[in-house]
Every structure is written in structure tokens, then in C-alpha cells.
């Protein structure tokens, strides 16, 4: 892969919450790339550090976190950027979708206002009228019917799936080059999940944006992404093209995870597990 094909290049990324007991690292020396227009899946169980990785890329780590290593986005070293310059990347060129769409939207403002404010703060000389049209258009693109009316509704007036569509519309309005989705469908019902995943695929096809999908669900990444990173306890266990990870996993942990996933259309037998938890 040549440089120009790589949208995001992460090297030796380490995130820690240093305290008196030590560096307390939750992400350890992570290396991965996202190709331009590619879709990377980061898979791991709880506590694997997958969410911290996404926040580290966004520069949104909580207070007290320490980030080292290199994050190169489209040739720019993000870790070296001053906060002001980072802000112009954040939201505009890299956008993020979170797990719980209800708490991720501010209950005090209409969804239209919340879609518009990003647009207006990144684009100078935009009138309210124009921004509103952008918001309506973005909502139409995520298939929210009657967008011109619903743009003035508040988040609590939408259902869970619709809220997540609003979140996606928010990122869409900026035409980002990279979308980071952190467990975007975990809080949703399975039929709604399928719709949202379809929507993400549709948008990627339309805009050519790269995607980092963070999830605990191997079946989801297998459907959506072309490259996979498996994480455990902050370590990178294994990475490679999706097909290779699913057909020929090298690491015992990856194999264990794949064995543990209940299949809906495979043979039924005792789910194969390693006895780490059993008897602890």
C-alpha cells in the first residue's frame, strides 16, 4: 500500500492513565492503517481498549489520559497539531458516531440545530438558511422521512434507530474523509441494526469515506469491514484482511473468539470455549 492510499496511519499508539501505581496503560503500542475508502474493524471484548483507541485518534481522551505514538492522517501528524488545528480536523474531516444516540444528543436543542452547528462552525460565511438546508438534506440522505419538518424536533421525539440516523446525518453534513463508529448499533434492535449497517455501507459507497467500526460483534465486522484488528486488554492480538482473520486466524485468542460466537446457520454443538473463566 503506498502512502497516498493510506488515509490513517497509527504507529506505536499508547494510551495510559498514569497514577502512583504506574503508567496504567489501556492501549499498548498499537499499529494499524486505514486505507482511503477502506473499512477497518476493531474488535474486542469489554476492557480491550478499543474505545480508547478511537478517542485517542479523535484527540478526545478523558482528563488524565496520556497519549504517545504517532497518528498520521492524510499525511498530517495529528499528535503534533495544536488544539485549534485539531479542531478543524475533528468533525470536519474525521467524524465520530457513538454507541448511545440518546445520551449523545443534547436534549435541549432540536436535531436541526445540532446538525447545523458543526457545519456553521467549520464553514465560514454560512447563513442560517443555508445551514438548515444542509441539515435537511443530510437528514434526507439518511432516509429520515419528512426531514423538513423533523429538523425542528428534539432528540427525545425520535426512536432509537432514528436518533442514530440523526447522528449519522450530523457526520454526513460535513462530508468527512473518515468516519469512526464506536459500537453504533449495540443499543439497537437487530432489525434496526441491519438498517443502520446498510446505511453506513450506502454512505461509504456514495462518499468514498473511510470507516473505523469499533464493535464487540464479530458477525457485524465480518459483514461490514475489509480489514480487522483484534484487541485484548489493550494489546493488539492480530490484524489482517477480514477473510484471512475469519478463515485462518493465527492467534489462539482470535480462534477462541470465533469459536464462541453463536452461529445462526452453522451446526449446533457445545460452543467451544477456553476455560479461562471457568473455575476462576
Amino acid at each position: 500500500m503506498t502512502i497516498s492510499d493510506t488515509l490513517l496511519r497509527v504507529r506505536m499508539l499508547t494510551v495510559g492513565f498514569p497514577n502512583i501505581h504506574g503508567p496504567n496503560e489501556v492501549v499498548k503500542s498499537l499499529d494499524f492503517d486505514v486505507a482511503r475508502g477502506g473499512a477497518l474493524g476493531i474488535v474486542g471484548e469489554s476492557g480491550s481498549g478499543k474505545s480508547m483507541t478511537s478517542l485517542a485518534v479523535m484527540g478526545l481522551l478523558p482528563k488524565g489520559a496520556k497519549r504517545t505514538g504517532s497518528i498520521e492522517f492524510d499525511g498530517t501528524e495529528l499528535t503534533a497539531l495544536p488544539e485549534r488545528a485539531m479542531r478543524s480536523v475533528r468533525g470536519d474531516r474525521i467524524a465520530m458516531i457513538f454507541q448511545d444516540p440518546l445520551s449523545s444528543l443534547n436534549p435541549y436543542y432540536t436535531v436541526g440545530t445540532q446538525i447545523m452547528e458543526a457545519y456553521r462552525s467549520h464553514r465560514t460565511g454560512v447563513t442560517r438558511r443555508q445551514a438548515r438546508n444542509v441539515a435537511i438534506e443530510a437528514m434526507e440522505r439518511v432516509h429520515i422521512s419528512d426531514a423538513a419538518r423533523r429538523v425542528d424536533h428534539y432528540p427525545h421525539q425520535f426512536s432509537g434507530g432514528m436518533r442514530q440516523r440523526v447522528m449519522i446525518a450530523m457526520t454526513l453534513s460535513m462530508e468527512p474523509e473518515l468516519i469512526i463508529a464506536d459500537e453504533p448499533t449495540t443499543a439497537l434492535d437487530v432489525t434496526v441494526q441491519a438498517q443502520i449497517l446498510d446505511l453506513l455501507a450506502e454512505i461509504r459507497a456514495d462518499t468514498g469515506a473511510g470507516l473505523i467500526l469499533i464493535t464487540h460483534d464479530l458477525a457485524v465486522v465480518s459483514e461490514v469491514t475489509d480489514h480487522i484488528v483484534v484487541m485484548r486488554d489493550g494489546d493488539l492480538v492480530e490484524q489482517g484482511p477480514a477473510e484471512r482473520i475469519f478463515t485462518d486466524p493465527q492467534e489462539p485468542y482470535t480462534r477462541m473468539l470465533l469459536d464462541a460466537v453463536p452461529r445462526i446457520d452453522d451446526e449446533i454443538g457445545l460452543l467451544r470455549t477456553v476455560s479461562t473463566e471457568e473455575g476462576r
Binding site: 434492535d189 458477525a219 465480518s222 464462541a260 453463536p262 476462576r280
Partner: protein, 285 residues
């Protein structure tokens, strides 16, 4: 394996009053469970599947008599559960137990494991066979936990371990039916697999029945004997597991099955071949 009927629910209806608020507010009624009938045979697992708001959890609570039915009948082991009260209801409580979704929320954070696990017996005013210590130790071992941890508090366990404590508590009174309400959905996938295996093993050993409430069809397929699909408070389709999964009749069931994300079977097949080859290589060395 399916023998005589253990539980038979007929035309269950549950309506909730939706308060209009205040002195002048008008209150409405919301039908959460609408004419649901189901049967669970001894030793089998009936899975009740549905999305959020489908009424599956309410149905579970109706059957456990945690809430009262608006109308309909529940017959358990020859008794009319919906009409039970007082002593008889108390006795019914030791034959039906529940395992809940959130392992931490379902264990009292201020009680030790020993107290949690023996609580059903204490509430039933039944003696603890062999004394609390021995009894707890034995139960913990059966669910794959260290018997020496009886004096710890729930917060000192991982999610999977806490769920095992919840299962141990359900086993304490040797129930005939265990209602598992999303019992594995909050767990990580590797832990989930272990708990599913544990639930199956315990059923093999004890012969009790499960009413398994879940939204995850893949999980349901691993554990259910029969499946009932709920939507909007009604059961839209029910039948043997393989029939429902293999040849779904109702539109909703089809939609639900189609929506489940899946790992390509050809990838799984390729992986099995690769692993076989790897094992052969290793043996050759």
C-alpha cells in the same frame, strides 16, 4: 425429551395504565401482552424471542407471578398459578426461579455471596441442607466458581462470574422451571458462550425446564428446544427450533432472521479446513 406439560399459559393479557398526570389528567391503557398462549414441557427449553417492546419480558414476569395478569390463565404443574395466593403462592416460588439480564443489578451489592445464594431458602423459611457454608460451597462449585469465595461481595466478581452467582441462587431451591430473562445478553461473547454451556449442562443434570427470554436469535438457536417469536405483545409464530429457523412462516420472523448479522458459512468452512490442516501439521511434528 419433551414429556408432559409443566407450564401452560392461556390467553394472557397484561394492560398497563398510562398516567395522564395530575388531577385532571386522563389516563390511557397500554396493552403490553396481548392474548399470549404458550406451553413448556418438562425438561425442554422454550425460547421467547422478540425485539425491545415486544412484551417478552412482561410475559416472563406474568408467568413468575411478579406482576398480576389482566386476564388469562397460567397453569403450572397442575395448579392454577394466576389464582394462587398466600401459602400456595409461597410454595410456587420455590418451583419457579429467575435469572436476570444484568448480573450486577440482580445481586444485592451489600450482601455476601453466601447470603445471596441462600436467600431463596431463607425467604421460603426452609432449612439449609448441610448448613449455609457447605451448601453455598457446593452450589458455587456446580456453577464453576471457587467455593472459597462465599464471603465476597458481588462487586468483587467479573460479569460472567456474577451471572454464575445469579444462576446458583436460582438453583438453591431446586426449581422445576427457570426463567432466564436475557440472561446472557450483557456478557462478552467468550463469557456468554461459557454461560450458555453452563445452562445447558445444568439442565442435562437436573432435568428442569427453561423459559429463555432473548433478543439474540443466534443465542436462542444454541439453547432452545422450541421457539416462540413475539412482536407487539403477540406471539406471531411458534414451533420447534429447526422449523422456525429453517422454514419461518411469518413475515416478521423472516425479517428478524434476515437481519441477524452472520459470519459467512464458507469462511467458517474454510477455517475448519485450515484448523484441521494445522492440527495435522502439529501432530506430524
Amino acid at each position: 425429551m419433551t414429556g408432559e406439560t409443566l407450564l401452560r399459559a392461556r390467553n394472557l393479557v397484561k394492560e398497563f395504565t398510562v398516567s395522564g398526570g395530575g388531577l385532571l389528567g386522563r389516563s390511557g391503557r397500554f396493552r403490553a401482552v396481548d392474548d399470549v398462549s404458550l406451553e413448556v414441557a418438562k425438561g425442554e427449553t422454550l425460547a421467547l424471542v422478540g425485539e425491545s417492546g415486544s412484551g417478552k419480558s412482561t410475559t416472563a414476569r406474568l408467568i413468575a407471578r411478579l406482576i398480576d395478569t389482566t386476564s388469562g390463565t397460567i397453569e403450572f404443574d397442575g395448579r392454577e398459578v394466576h389464582a394462587l395466593s398466600g401459602k400456595a403462592l409461597h410454595a410456587f416460588r420455590s418451583e419457579v426461579q429467575m435469572v436476570f439480564q444484568d448480573p450486577y443489578s440482580s445481586l444485592n451489592p451489600k450482601h455476601t455471596v453466601e447470603r445471596i445464594v441462600t436467600a431463596p431458602l431463607a425467604y421460603q423459611r426452609r432449612p439449609i441442607p448441610g448448613g449455609a457454608r457447605v451448601f453455598t460451597g457446593a452450589l458455587l462449585e456446580r456453577v464453576g466458581l471457587n467455593p472459597d469465595h462465599a464471603n465476597r461481595f458481588p462487586a468483587q466478581f467479573s460479569g460472567g462470574q456474577a451471572q454464575r452467582i445469579g444462576i446458583a441462587r436460582a438453583l438453591a431451591v431446586s426449581p422445576k422451571l427457570i426463567i432466564a430473562d436475557e440472561a446472557v445478553s450483557a456478557l462478552d461473547v467468550s463469557v456468554q458462550a461459557q454461560v450458555i454451556n453452563l445452562l445447558r449442562r445444568l439442565q442435562d443434570e437436573e432435568g428442569f425446564s427453561y423459559l429463555f427470554i432473548a433478543h439474540d436469535l443466534a443465542v436462542v438457536r444454541q439453547i432452545a428446544t422450541r421457539v416462540a417469536v413475539m412482536n407487539g405483545g403477540r406471539i406471531v409464530e411458534s414451533g420447534d427450533r429447526d422449523a422456525v429457523f429453517g422454514a419461518p412462516q411469518h413475515e416478521y420472523t423472516k425479517k428478524l432472521l434476515a437481519a441477524v448479522p452472520r459470519i459467512r458459512p464458507e469462511w467458517d468452512a474454510a477455517r475448519r479446513r485450515n484448523e484441521q490442516a494445522r492440527r495435522e501439521r502439529e501432530e506430524a511434528l
